[in-house]
């Protein structure tokens, strides 16, 4: 439903750190995002494989899209969010330049400024990475 520069409405990250380029769907408890991996991506190794850091950043920014979209639709300002904790991260398949990452995240719990989400990233329907990610939203800014 949103792509390219449209994503910048919801998250504060900018080039060269932008790791989401599509927001397919979002509601009060789930979000679905995408990223086409370009060879200019700073998280890609020589040889065209996306690094572990790149996969996690894509998931983290997907969580930021979830928070940002829900703030935007409720007329609240978009705030900076930070990773507080990652648990049970598993990398099961390598992503390459040209691949389309599709991530699906679901809220596990929400309290104050902390949101815990379950995340799965797929490539062509096959699971490439998964984790539980806790995001802290800096709402005082």
């Amino acid at each position: 439903m949103y792509s390219g520069d449209g994503i910048k409405t919801f998250i504060p990250q900018r080039e060269p750190m932008l790791m989401v380029d599509k927001l397919f769907a979002c509601d009060e408890s789930t979000v679905e995002t995408g990223l086409k991996v370009l060879d200019s991506n700073i998280f890609v190794y020589e040889g065209g494989v996306v690094s572990e850091a790149g996969m996690i950043e894509h998931i983290a920014q997907s969580a930021a899209c979830f928070a940002g979209y829900n703030d935007w639709i409720n007329n609240r300002p978009i705030v900076l969010g930070y990773i507080a904790e990652i648990k049970k991260f598993a990398l099961s398949a390598a992503a390459h330049v040209g691949d389309e990452l599709v991530s699906s995240l679901k809220v596990v719990s929400q309290a104050m400024n902390i949101t815990l989400m379950d995340a799965t990233t797929t490539i062509d329907g096959k699971v490439a990475a998964s984790c539980k990610i806790k995001i802290f939203m800096d709402k005082k800014k």
Binding site: M17, I42, Y82, E85, I86, A90, L91
Partner: protein
């Protein structure tokens, strides 16, 4: 280094318990800070995870993929201006050479703790 010139290694010390402790300096002029975030440079947590993985490779002389993270806690915010120098401790599991624990700290402040599993990287 994946994100080129993101940090430099200033030193490496072996501890009595077998751990390796690296001293690193962050490069505040790096392009990542243009996007993370405009007008407020904050070191991306994933760049610190990547740094741990690269120093783990250095400490064991193997090319690695971080295939699993049991737990990674980001306990203090790292900024290139406020915390330009960091120590990174890499401790390999005595029983399983593919398991490691890492801590990023400086002085009394702990910035990140990570426990994870690696595999040989082929590319």
């Amino acid at each position: 280094m994946l994100v080129k010139d993101f940090y430099t290694i200033d030193g490496k010390e072996a501890q009595a318990d077998g751990a390796a402790v690296y001293s690193v300096s962050l490069n505040a002029a790096h392009d990542v800070y243009k996007g993370h975030f405009p007008e407020r440079p904050i070191t991306p947590g994933v760049c610190n995870i990547q740094m741990i993985k690269e120093l783990a490779e250095d400490s064991c002389g193997r090319q690695l993929t971080l295939t699993a993270i049991d737990r990674c806690r980001l306990t203090s915010m790292v900024t290139p201006d406020g915390s330009p120098k960091l120590n990174v401790k890499i401790q390999w599991d005595a029983a399983d050479s593919n398991k490691l624990a890492a801590t990023i700290y400086y002085g009394d402040t702990t910035y990140m703790t990570l426990s994870g599993t690696v595999a040989e990287r082929v590319v």
